[in-house]
Amino acid sequence: MRALSTESAKTDLPLEEGSGQTAAPRPFWIGGGLIAIGAIWMHGGLSLPQGARYAAVGPGLTPTLIGAVLVLLGVILIVQILRGERFEPQDSEDAAATSPMDKRAFFTALVAVFLPVGALPTLGLPLTAALAFTLVTRALGSTRLIANFVIGGVIGSVSWLLFTQLGLQLGRFFPPLGF
């Protein structure tokens, strides 16, 4: 899915000063994160038998090895970053890779993405869909909040009715009112 646009060559242009984006991102934290994940997997793997009497490989060996490789990859990535490895955002159809990050839009969309974790079990699909729909459209610049809320609610309700008919378990329609 990389570089969907044919004009990806644009990303090679030097970034203008003051564009809000650093010219060469050095994401050491990704290397650190990989080492941390690798360590967790190694710990999880080592707490299980590494060998088995007849099968040579026990249940713990694979997670241990995967964890070890992730740690190694984390270290390699850090070394590469120190040597000046370039990290350019991927080009996508509706996103301009070279433009600076719009933090407000990102965090609004992030709320919409995490919202269902708490809202779906307690508020039901139609209301959660309406809220998430409104938040995403707001993040992408739409100001018609009420219209979007209604559209989201309608999509959520129709999906609930249709997919429940098809046999999916989507919980209750509107749990706050008990149905």
């Binding site: 997997w41 490895e85 996508s92 995490f114 269902p116 739409s142």
Partner: protein, 494 residues
């Protein structure tokens, strides 16, 4: 001869009215998602999985095949008319296709793309029809060590070929492998990496990860860097569709594109991007005219044929060996597993109606898509008038329904959001996404083969290279690593 009879049986399945209906639904959906941004065939099939569980497997797979082929047709429309490819496989089409559209030859570009897709799709399906049973027959002789070597080769080539750096390819692959070991160990029944939670005992669902990486990751990425300037649509009204000269310039690239696309699609890691790039480069080299880069029809005909042939190519290893070579194939494999079916040689003998019905439906679907795409192109283009904010919001709602419908567990929604953030980070720092999905679905299979092979060899690791097939494949794995630096060193010394 036997293949021919089986294919006829397949047609009797595929031509049943309800299966024709699902093939039509799949083709329409596939074309629509090919045109629309933000949704690809892999994501669509993943979202359809929970819904289709009430359908008979044959009908479901006939619909999925329509989605897979339809996306390849639909992707070319936006590439040509607006210069924004809906699918990765349509990237090269935009280069010449959009130039043709700007020069008032958009209709001809659309026609060569659709007819080329049809020709390539049909020839490639014919190749699949005859290659698949032969490979399935050979696969009966393969041992666990051979299968392990095959998965290892798939891992290495996918991680090396996809993305800009090998390290990032492997990071993506190993993150997928790490998620794949979560849950109950199939061989000993012990819980692994579940952190004491009941919800993680059944493992991490591919559907959830795929929806998160593709839909949620893309949504967050677009929100953070939204490009509000819409592309300019080139008009096609009143243009000539296809002249005799267009045909004489197109037919050879169609055939060459098919010859490149089909075998490349069957190789792990090549997806639909590499065959289309190869086809474009080849046509450019072979062209005696100087209109390449200014709207050469060969540059549309070749890559479009290649991407459709590649779509048939990915089905060969998937159906005969159970080996997915792209993200879409990984989801198809998950779909088979959802029905309790394991693709591979045994499926050809245990469930011939499904396999041959699916293959026959590819012929039918291709014909449907040609009819759907050529005269109705104006209708598909209208889909692009859906405003982007509402489109992405709708995608999130469907992602939510898909994930919630799988299990009804809030933990899956939490995984959706968290892996979605991972998908965002992968886009920002250019990590390829497909290796993670292949790692997640192939990882547990590879581990199973490894442990079965070692158990049969009483723990002797030499059993892993004990057969000619496994030894050859392991050597290929080593070459994938060793060759590029070696060539680099030789060049430096020269």
């Amino acid at each position: 001869m036997e293949t021919f009879e089986l294919l006829l049986h397949g047609f009797s399945v595929a031509l049943q009215p309800h299966n024709l209906f699902w093939a039509f639904i799949g083709s329409v959906l596939g074309t629509a998602i090919g045109v629309l941004p933000g949704i690809g065939p892999a994501l669509t099939i993943a979202l359809l999985l929970p819904v289709t569980i009430t359908l008979a497997p044959t009908s479901a797979f006939i619909m999925f095949a329509g989605v897979l082929y339809g996306a390849m047709y639909g992707g070319s429309t936006t590439s040509i008319l607006i210069n924004t490819p809906g699918e990765a496989g349509s990237m090269m089409t935009a280069l010449e296709g959009n130039k043709m559209a700007r020069a008032g030859r958009g209709a001809a570009a659309l026609a060569t793309a659709a007819i080329g897709s049809f020709v390539a799709g049909t020839i490639a399906t014919l190749c699949l029809t005859f290659a698949a049973p032969t490979i399935a027959e050979l696969a009966f002789y393969l041992k666990p060590a051979d299968y392990f070597a095959m998965t290892a080769l798939a891992f290495c080539s996918i991680a090396v070929v996809m993305g800009r750096s090998r390290t990032r390819g492997f990071v993506s692959l190993f993150l997928g492998l790490a998620l794949g070991v979560v849950g109950i160990d199939a061989m000993t029944g012990q819980p692994r990496l579940t952190f004491g939670t009941l919800q993680l005992l059944r493992g991490v669902e591919l559907t959830v990860v795929l929806v998160s990486l593709f839909a949620v990751g893309e949504l967050l990425y677009v929100a953070s860097r939204y490009n509000k300037i819409p592309g300019v649509m080139q008009p096609i009204k009143g243009q000539k569709w296809f002249t005799r000269e267009d045909l004489s310039r197109s037919w050879k690239p169609w055939l060459r594109g098919t010859a490149i696309g089909f075998p490349m699609g069957a190789l792990p890691g090549s997806g639909s991007e590499i065959p289309t790039m190869l086809s474009y480069t080849l046509e450019r080299k072979l062209s005696k005219r100087d209109d390449f880069g200014k709207g050469a029809i060969e540059g549309v005909a070749g890559p479009e044929a290649a991407n459709n042939a590649a779509a048939a190519g990915i089905l060969v290893p998937m159906l005969t060996l159970g080996l997915p070579t792209s993200a879409t194939a990984a989801v198809l494999l998950a779909a088979f597993q959802n029905y309790g079916l394991q693709p591979g040689p045994f499926l050809f003998t245990s469930n011939p109606s499904l396999i041959w019905g699916l293959i026959a439906s590819l012929y039918v679907g291709n014909l449907m898509l040609l009819v759907l795409n050529l005269p109705l192109v104006g209708l598909w283009v209208k889909l692009l008038s859906i405003p982007r904010p509402q489109l992405y919001a709708g995608i999130l709602v469907f992602a939510m329904v898909g994930v919630w419908g799988v299990s009804g567990a809030w933990s899956d929604l939490l995984i959706m959001a968290s892996v979605g953030v991972l998908g965002y980070v992968m886009r920002v720092y250019d990590f390829p996404i497909a290796p993670a999905l292949i790692g997640l679905i192939l990882g547990p299979m590879a581990e199973n083969y490894l442990r079965t092979a070692l158990a049969a060899g009483q723990g002797n690791p030499m059993v892993l290279v004990g057969t000619p097939v496994s030894a050859t494949l392991i050597v290929l794995c080593v070459l994938i690593f060793a060759l590029p630096p070696l060539i680099q060193r030789l060049r430096a010394n020269a």
